[in-house]
Amino acid sequence: MSLYPEPTNIWESIEYSNLGITIAESTWMFPTIETLHVMALVTVLGMIMIVDLRLIGVHSRGLAVTKLSKDTLPWVWGAFAMAALTGGLLFVSKATSYVVNPYFLWKMVMLALAGINMMYFHFFTYRTVEHWDLDPSVPTAAKVAGGLSLVFWLAVLFFGRAIGFTLGIFY
């Protein structure tokens, strides 16, 4: 017989699933998955910072934006996939605590904004990149995209860290 109560909503169903219980009851799984999450997120953050700092004109000003993107994007996507997978596993183990945590919700909002900003940059601003690829100072729209990206990703980091200090105090 299960030691856990019957789930009354989707978040409890997720948390009391076999996967959720296995992670929550293990002494080493949560810290290990969390460590992999940190490794993935520092890779995402570091690679994105390299491109953003080039766009706002602080670093690598002499390097073509297209080349820098080509070098960093595989790392960003690979690490993002790992961050999403490990983040999903962490969520499953404490779903009910996460969904009521305002910092978790803000983190999701910031992730969405970072994604929208990236898509806008990719589908609109980046289309004219051949005109400013090698310019040390890129057009304002690209600078704004780089600046917003930095702000959103640093906010993702801050809210992510804040979750660790506030989990379980909102209910």
Binding site: P31, E34, T35, T43, L45, G46, M49, P74, R161, G164
Partner: protein, 174 residues
């Protein structure tokens, strides 16, 4: 393994580090951090941003060495990222000191903290050697050999081990 870490902690408790940690926790700087809820998370964020900068720099140097990212010359790549690496290391050490001041007992009487410190010192020494003994010569035109690549890859693994210990400070059996 857990027993070994417990023994390590027990030993740390018999050293002068306890006095030191208690003395630090009485300083006004420590009091300030303790009484400001967001101080530790913000210092931790600065620490993580610094790790992101240094880890990404090492990955980019690696990618160039292994010809995964071949956009610019080895000299350009080395020059571009090695400076970031050293500045990021400085920020890492400063924010790390901030965390020790804020939570001296949690850090100083912690086996993972000291394993991490050992790895950090080792990492800095390897980085200096990698910078002076490898990157400078390779950037100067010497061909990249197997040991250069091995050292670069080893630095990635070393940083991952440092991150592992860093996160496990929070989970140490103390």
């Amino acid at each position: 393994m857990g027993d070994l870490l417990f023994s390590f902690t027990e030993w740390l408790r018999t050293t002068q580090l306890v006095e030191l940690a208690l003395w630090i926790s009485d300083t006004s700087a420590s009091m300030f951090i303790v009484t400001h809820f967001w101080a530790i998370p913000i210092i931790q964020c600065i620490h993580i941003i610094s790790i992101a900068a240094s880890f990404a720099s090492i990955l980019m140097i690696n990618a160039r060495m292994f010809n995964i990212a071949g956009s610019s010359s080895m000299a350009d790549t080395a020059n571009r990222y090695i400076r970031v690496l050293w500045w990021a290391l400085a920020a890492l050490i400063l924010s790390g000191i901030g965390m020790i001041i804020g939570e001296p007992v949690r850090e100083l009487i912690n086996p993972f903290f000291w394993i991490k410190m050992g790895l950090v010192v080792f990492g800095i020494l390897i980085s200096i050697w990698f910078h002076r003994g490898v990157l400078k010569h390779v950037a100067g035109g010497r061909e990249i050999v197997g040991t250069d690549k091995a050292t670069a890859a080893f630095l990635v693994l070393l940083w991952m081990a440092i991150m592992y210990c860093g996160r496990f400070i929070a989970y140490a059996p103390v």
